[in-house]
């Protein structure tokens, strides 16, 4: 089970829940599972987020595998200059 943490900005979708445990083999399946739990969050996560898996920040990470016990954070997509 991966531990998924929601920043304050995402808690409007989760009704204030800040952390859940989810079973999923890759990021796309993880997002789908989260969308089942918190309808509407799927679109927000696919569009506007990067994901950090055990500290490594990735963008466009749909097929990144999510190891068992991974710590997952969704981050706003950032711009560099």
């Amino acid at each position: 089970m991966a531990k998924v943490y929601f920043s304050a900005g995402l808690r409007e979708f989760t009704g204030g829940v800040s952390q859940v445990q989810v079973e999923a083999s890759n990021v796309r399946r993880l997002v789908a599972a989260l969308d089942d739990m918190f309808p509407g969050i799927g679109e927000r996560l696919s569009e506007g987020s990067s994901v950090a898996i055990d500290g490594e920040i990735l963008t466009d990470a749909d097929f990144e595998s999510v190891p068992d016990d991974a710590e997952v954070h969704f981050l706003d997509i950032l711009q560099g200059g």
């Binding site: 900005g9 490594e56 963008t59 710590e71 950032l78």
Partner: protein, 750 residues
């Protein structure tokens, strides 16, 4: 000076040879965007709004169209309405920023454009375009824009990220927030609490080369674009979107670029130039003048920030509360999100709340500027940290060391940090002789730190081995800071051939695979990783060819120092020259491609100390001594790593001491020239001493961490802290220009 953890004995990485494109740049041969001339080329000129906020009632182009030499006149009507086509809101904003439709939202907003045979004819025709406006009330600052009953820029803007969702529209596009623990408990545990409000003004990236584009459209719908940009693939995508065409119809070539710093990751001239060229049936050159660059490209946000932080007497930060409002300019999407994520990132604080608001106002849409959002946030937090250190009588570096994020710290923005080098930068400053150098009268010393994530994203590279054993390395990353040298150094290291045998090339959108922008401090990491991958595929191919030649299994062949060697030495080695010369016989030309979405991005930290002398009669702050320590992971090219460090520092010095956008009450910029928008010159500065720290990024083949951006994050706070040390006054409004320092000094003595 470089602090290296392990010295892997690199032959090329870490050296200081001459960069491959340098010769063209010192002889005037290098072709920048405005240097290209095509046969039959016309000159374009843009018509811009003089008003900060207005409805466009009518545009009469008839007079302009009939003027001598005029071959095309266009307005917003010549571009598709993306909103009607159901496009994504961000694409709609880009298209409306490129050329206004029913409203103009800032002084300088594009309204129309003309193309004519000479510059003078184009300028005359632009003046003859008659635009009727209905002027609307405007808002210029976050305070104005957030006030009750403020005039709205976008009638349908409902603030995102607020609960419950507001019923009424406003100028607040979105709210971001991060929190941890319990603020009340945290402040309760503090022995000292400091609370301070800060404001900063918009500043411009200040690249010396104005935007320039040449477009050559053909009657079959295809167009070639030659432009000054940080990312020609991005230009192609955004230009195609605005024009309503398929990306495949556009070929974009990146000219040499005269500075960008984030400001050239967005389109301005390209779709206008293409449409003019299509209408005229001739190539069109569009170059901004400096006035247009200031008024109508994207500076970074002006801000208001409120910081409250608590510390225990023994130096532990117990709580932090941050409220920030950042100007986005005319359309949503400013850098407050990143500011919210970086503001507390260098520190391990158990209780905090960070809130940030993205606020639209009648100013040009902001564009990225070197670590967008982070410098303003750091100005505020690093100033408060300095005051906390004073309050508990603790050395400012020791206070930061006591709370520094390390490997395993849960970052304020969420995930745990992997291996990072923040502590090493703090210690480097503390141990440096500059930190204890004697200070004279009216002099003071200030320290500040900064963090930037750096980016990964997508890059492609192709490596071709030439018949004579040299190699060409082709990438799609426009070279702003010397990246071609880094690519060549890494390729030389991988292939084991001399650096001088590598020719790095930046190719156009048709001749190299997709590559994201040169920005976000990503090129050495991501494009470098693609180059390394392509080299490794080439090496595997070379080993296979040697195996064929020797009639052995490929696992019997190693690649060492540019040669195929048999593992037991039973064959004389085959050099790259040998294998390349016979490549046709062993399978054909030797070349390999790699495309990737980069992983393993390493974050960067910078700690800086500056000494200033403040003239008590004029308020002028002179920078006397400056030292920056930055973790580069591994400095592939130390010369150009230092260059990035020094450049970022000096932009920060300008931001801190002098640069600002000045607007009159009508929303017109009063200082759109280099005379009055005062950037640092050589006589303002001392040498900028550099300490390259190397805590290798464990996830990159060479340990690289991006270096381009983090250097601009600490300087404003370092200066503010030095001014406080020299004079006792805490400056809370940027820039800390002489007149404001003098006012503060006079107030203090009253």
């Amino acid at each position: 000076m470089a602090l290296t953890e392990e010295n892997p004995g690199y032959k090329w990485v870490g050296t200081r040879p001459i960069r491959p494109d340098g010769l063209e740049k010192v002889t005037g041969k290098a072709q920048f965007g405005a240097d290209l001339t095509l046969p039959g080329m016309l000159y374009g000129k843009i018509v811009r709004s003089p008003h900060a906020h207005a409805r466009i009632v009518a545009i009469d182009t008839s007079a302009a169209e009939s003027m001598p030499g005029v071959k095309a006149v266009i307005t917003g009507n010549d571009f598709p309405d993306l909103a009607a086509n159901g496009a994504h809101p961000s694409a709609i904003d880009i298209s409306h920023n490129a050329i206004a439709r029913d409203k103009v939202l800032y002084e300088g907003h594009v309204v129309a454009a003309v193309a004519a045979v000479t510059r003078e004819q184009a300028a005359a025709a632009a003046n003859a375009v008659e635009v009727t406006y209905e002027v609307l009330p405007h808002v210029l600052t976050v305070d104005d824009a957030m006030a009750e009953n403020a005039p709205l820029l976008h009638e349908g803007m409902i603030t995102k990220g607020v609960e419950p969702t507001p019923e009424q529209p406003s100028n607040v596009a979105s709210r971001v927030a991060h929190e941890r623990g319990d603020l009340e408990q945290g402040f309760g545990e503090a022995d000292v609490v400091v609370e301070q409000e800060f404001t900063t003004k918009p500043v411009h990236q200040g690249y010396i080369e104005p935007h320039a584009a040449v477009a050559d459209a053909n009657s079959d719908g295809r167009a070639n674009i030659w432009c000054s940009s940080q990312g020609h693939f991005q230009m192609r995508a955004d230009t195609a979107s605005v024009l309503g065409v398929s990306q495949g119809t556009l070929k974009v070539t990146a000219a040499e670029i005269g500075g960008g710093f984030g400001g050239k990751t967005v389109i301005y001239l390209e779709p206008i130039a293409v449409r003019l060229s299509q209408r005229a049936g001739r190539p069109v050159k569009l170059v901004m003048d400096r006035d247009e660059v200031f008024r109508a490209t994207g500076p970074t946000s002006g801000t208001r920030m409120k910081i409250k932080m608590g510390v225990s007497n023994d130096g532990k930060l117990t709580a932090a509360e941050v409220w920030m409002a950042f100007e986005a300019g005319a359309y949503a999407g400013g850098p407050v999100g990143a500011a919210g994520m970086t503001v507390l990132a260098p520190y391990d604080i158990p209780h905090f709340l960070v809130e940030g608001y993205d606020v639209v106002c009648n100013k040009p849409r902001v564009a990225a500027y070197r670590a967008p959002g982070a410098p303003m946030a750091a100005f505020a937090v690093e100033s408060v940290l300095d005051d906390l250190a004073r309050a508990i009588d603790m050395d400012p570096i020791d206070l930061r060391l006591a709370n520094a994020a390390v490997e395993g710290t849960q970052a304020a923005y969420g995930p745990k940090f992997p291996r990072i080098g923040f502590v090493e930068t703090l210690e480097a400053i503390k141990e440096h002789p500059n930190y204890t150098a004697e200070l004279g009268p009216n002099q003071g010393r200030g320290v500040a730190a900064g963090f930037w994530f750096n980016a990964g994203m997508s890059s492609s590279a192709t490596v071709h081995v030439n018949e004579n054993g040299t190699a060409t390395v082709v990438t799609g990353s426009p070279d702003i800071g010397g990246s071609r040298q880094s690519m060549a150094l890494m390729a030389a290291e991988e292939l084991g051939i001399p650096y001088e045998s590598i020719k790095p090339v930046v190719a156009d959108t048709e001749t190299v695979g997709f590559t994201d922008v040169t920005g976000g401090s990503r090129v050495t990491l991501a494009t470098g990783a693609a180059v390394v991958d392509a080299c490794r595929i080439v090496i595997d191919d070379l080993r296979a060819r040697a195996a064929k030649t020797w009639d052995v299994e490929v696992d019997q062949v190693e690649w060492v120092d540019g040669q195929a060697q048999h593992v037991d030495g039973s064959q004389p080695p085959l050099s790259l020259n040998d294998l390349a010369a016979k490549s046709a016989r062993t399978g054909g030309p030797i070349s390999a491609n790699a495309s990737l979405n980069a992983r393993g991005v390493g974050a960067a930290f910078s700690t800086q100390v500056c000494d200033v002398e403040v003239d008590p009669e004029t308020g002028v702050t002179q920078v006397v001594r400056y030292l920056t320590a930055q973790d580069a992971g591994r400095a592939i090219s130390p010369d150009y790593v230092e260059g990035q460090m020094q450049g970022g520092v000096v932009q920060g010095i300008g931001w801190g001491l002098n640069e600002e956008y000045v607007h009159d009450q009508n929303g017109n910029m009063e200082n759109p020239s280099f005379l009055d928008y005062r950037m640092p010159v050589a006589s303002d500065l001392p040498m900028i001493e550099c300490c390259i720290i190397e805590v290798p990024n464990p996830a990159h083949p060479y340990g690289v961490r991006g270096v381009g951006e983090v250097g601009i994050v600490p300087p404003m706070a370092a200066l503010g802290n030095a001014i406080k040390d020299a004079t006792g006054v805490r400056m809370t409004d940027l820039p800390m220009s002489p007149i404001k320092v003098l006012e503060a000094l006079n107030e203090q003595s009253d």
